[in-house]
């Protein structure tokens, strides 16, 4: 019985080539792919994920620099073109390649239906210039500028997505609305992640009466029908609230409902983790409860939190839009995709002015993109998924 016999010799297989001596220096030559690199490679291998990321990067930059990308301000009115259709961008004139331009409108009023129809007026040519000087704006409330990405000369008009009921440029409004429609879900998600993960971890770690109470509370929250609950909470926001405060209010309302699902998931994860040896080791080391919660448990739940949080954004985008569409969310002068869709409520819009649905298209694409990203993240973080 010689358990303690020295077995220091490395059992080299007879046929195995001995590694060159230089490779034996473990510190310098060993290549270990970091978690981040593996994660990145796995996301990059997912085509839909990349599409999602590209669209979201585009949307976020649009949101950040909306004033620059939009040719007009939200309130700029084209008096001569109410509910005008999108203008087509031409690059050929008289069979020759020119700078991109749009034609002006010729309007005719149908004497029977009183509807104005717009046709391209080939006499009115508005060439599109890039980096033009137009109405000044304040980027992020800090930097004053008057450079916009593109525009036409004074007196002309460019409305790539047509104009609305009051003659405002739909394209500019959709781009500007991106700010609200993306920031409400992202801020709401952050609040609900902070709430949900800390309450969930605490609930799972301590257990007992607190756990039971918290879990019943989340069940009640989750079993309410969503829209009436949002409406009720949104209705508690005083009507005399300024547009900006209302925006914050709506965000908080959405977050207060959204944390419940995450809380339950994180609690489950915590229940599983808290019995693991490294938590036991942390307690044996004398680590305080906050250390165990915030340095052991939450980091180990983190991949889970990221996925759940990402996949909760589409719900929040739709929630904000629903509230705004119903008139109890974002109010003018702020615009969100939901408030823009308010203009597209009638059947007449669908038949005669379908371009007013543009914000809806953006919403659908963004929701899809976030879902693609969430799925890609989930697959990439799942240790059991096969790397494609």
């Amino acid at each position: 019985m010689s358990v303690v016999s020295e077995q220091a010799q490395t059992p080299l297989q007879p046929g195995a080539p001995r590694p060159p001596a230089a490779d034996l220096d473990v510190s310098s030559s060993e290549e270990v792919a970091s978690r981040g690199r593996i994660l990145g490679a796995r996301i990059m291998a997912n085509r839909l994920g990349i599409i999602g990321i590209v669209w979201l990067v585009l949307m976020v930059s649009v949101a950040l620099f909306a004033d620059f990308f939009a040719p007009y301000t939200v309130d700029y009115v084209h008096e001569e073109a109410l509910r005008a259709p999108p203008q087509r961008v031409h690059i050929f004139r008289d069979g020759r390649l020119t700078r991109p331009f749009v034609y002006g409108f010729k309007s005719e009023r149908d004497t029977r239906t009183f509807l104005t129809t717009y046709t391209e007026d080939k006499e009115l040519v508005y060439p599109i210039y890039f980096f033009v000087e137009a109405e000044p704006y304040k980027l992020w409330g800090l930097i004053t500028s008057n450079t916009r990405l593109f525009g036409v000369e004074e007196g002309g008009m460019v409305a790539l997505f047509g104009t609305g009921r009051l003659g405002r440029d739909v394209f500019s409004r959709v781009l500007t609305a991106t700010r609200i429609s993306l920031s409400v879900p992202i801020i709401g998600m952050l609040i609900s992640v902070i709430l949900g993960s800390s309450i969930g971890v605490a609930s799972g770690y301590w257990g007992g009466v607190a756990d039971i109470l918290i879990q019943r509370l989340t069940e009640v929250l989750m079993s309410f029908p969503r829209i009436p609950l949002w409406m009720a909470l949104a209705a508690t926001l005083p009507p005399e609230l300024s547009s900006l405060h209302r925006y914050l209010g709506v965000t908080i309302v959405l977050a207060l409902i959204g944390w419940a699902g995450l809380c339950r998931q994180i609690r489950g994860k915590t229940l599983a983790l808290k019995e693991s040896d490294f938590i036991m080791a942390g307690r044996a080391a004398g680590s305080s409860t906050p250390t165990i919660l915030f340095r052991h448990l939450i980091p180990n739940c983190f991949s889970h939190i990221v996925v759940v949080a990402t996949l909760s954004i589409p719900g929040l985008i739709l929630a904000e839009s629903s509230l705004s569409f119903l008139g109890i969310g974002i109010t003018p002068p702020l615009v969100s995709w939901g408030t823009l869709l308010k203009d597209a409520q009638s059947v007449q819009v669908l038949t005669k002015h379908p371009w007013l649905l543009a914000p809806g298209v953006f919403m659908v694409l963004t929701v899809l993109a976030v879902n693609f990203l969430g799925d890609a993240l989930r697959d990439a973080l799942d240790p059991y998924s096969e790397i494609r």
Binding site: V3, F278, G282, R283, N300
Partner: protein, 346 residues
């Protein structure tokens, strides 16, 4: 090694309630540890052995207050003061953890996968409010002591082998220089080839740092090698306690004998017919009446299932929990199997 106890466990019990149904009614208790008493002397290694489920690990966790003991006292004689771990306050526990640390069984699950080796090893120091710079310096100091190079400091656990991980685990336990270390089966999750290295490391560290070990294992050959005294547990009860020599050469309890007989001897010519215990370990939820071992004991008599034996001193610090400890002659012949075993010759 001296005779001054560093740790005294008195009548330690831990019962886990078993709850059933919607209302989580308690329908019984698993008596994981039942009235266990022993002492550990300064500088010695006390081996705690027994088969799976006998309560070894629960004892270890009670010692560190990782599970709350239900009854009993755990006295730790520190340099300045004596603590009763079973009733120590949160603040006192922090002092206790500077004097007693634990090495866990599974090096794969006892290191947080998100923490670098430095942070893992420094965790007890950070808990003791040692500054970050000082902690990092001490980690670099202790790495060579456990046989790891300084480049391991920035690694993550998943980059290490089982043996390396267990070395990290040992470094974590020793970083606060505790006089007493509880080792909960520190090598049973390791490759056989690495076991001896870790055992030798533990022995070296013991002599270098004058450590006291409570060494839990189910592999008797390792315990024999490392322990000065051995405590044998069966179904939450201590059944025999004595020096290594007493237990290995003159054991008085039939269960200890059966454990010893189960040790395999790596000798191809050896043809001993070792004694095999019959039956399963009874459920700790409902242990047999009288002597817990009576259902499997080849010498069981009426008295055995009627009344429970006391842990009695047989002289020379040899304690046995058996009615017939004096009368039994536990030699190999008696331990011949009581059922037909196919012989090796055909």
């Amino acid at each position: 090694m001296s005779d001054t106890p560093i740790l005294q466990v008195e009548n330690l019990s831990k019962f886990f309630p078993v709850q059933r149904g919607l209302l989580r009614r308690t329908v019984g208790h698993v008596k994981a540890v039942n009235d266990v008493s022993f002492a550990v002397n300064k500088g010695e290694c006390l081996g705690l052995v027994g088969e799976s489920g006998c309560g070894k690990t629960t004892v270890a966790r009670c010692l560190l207050r990782l599970v709350e003991p239900d009854q009993g006292r755990i006295l730790l004689h520190g340099e300045q003061q004596t603590f009763d771990i079973a009733s120590a306050s949160r603040k006192e526990m922090l002092d206790v953890r500077r004097q007693m640390q634990i090495i866990f069984q599974d090096p794969f699950s006892s290191l947080d996968p998100r923490w670098r080796v430095t942070d893992v090893i420094a965790e007890p120091l950070m808990a003791q409010k040692v500054g970050r710079g000082e902690a990092g310096r001490r980690v670099l100091e202790i790495l060579p002591t456990v046989g790891l190079g300084p480049h391991f400091a920035d690694r993550f656990p998943h980059e290490l082998s089982g043996g390396e991980r267990q070395r990290v685990s040992i470094a974590r336990a020793l970083i606060v220089s505790p006089p007493l270390v509880v080792a909960d089966e520190p090598v049973s999750a390791l490759d056989v080839s690495v076991r001896s290295q870790i055992i030798n490391l533990l022995l070296d560290l013991q002599s270098q740092m004058n450590l006291t070990y409570v060494f839990i294992a189910h592999d008797l050959s390792i315990v024999k090698h490392i322990s000065h005294r051995i405590a044998v547990m069966y179904l939450g009860r201590l059944v025999e306690l004595g020096t290594t020599q007493q237990v290995f050469e003159d054991c008085k309890h039939p269960y200890t004998k059966a454990l010893l007989a189960s040790v395999l001897i790596p000798d191809p010519t050896h043809r001993e017919q070792s004694y095999v215990l019959e039956g399963e370990v009874p459920s700790p939820l409902n242990p047999p009446s009288g002597c817990h071992f009576s259902t499997r004991c080849p010498f069981a008599q009426e008295q055995c299932s009627a009344e429970e034996p006391e842990l009695r001193d047989m002289g020379g610090g040899h304690w046995v929990r058996c009615h017939f400890a004096e009368e039994l002659d536990l030699s190999e012949e008696i331990f011949a199997p009581q059922f037909d075993t196919p012989t090796a010759s055909n």
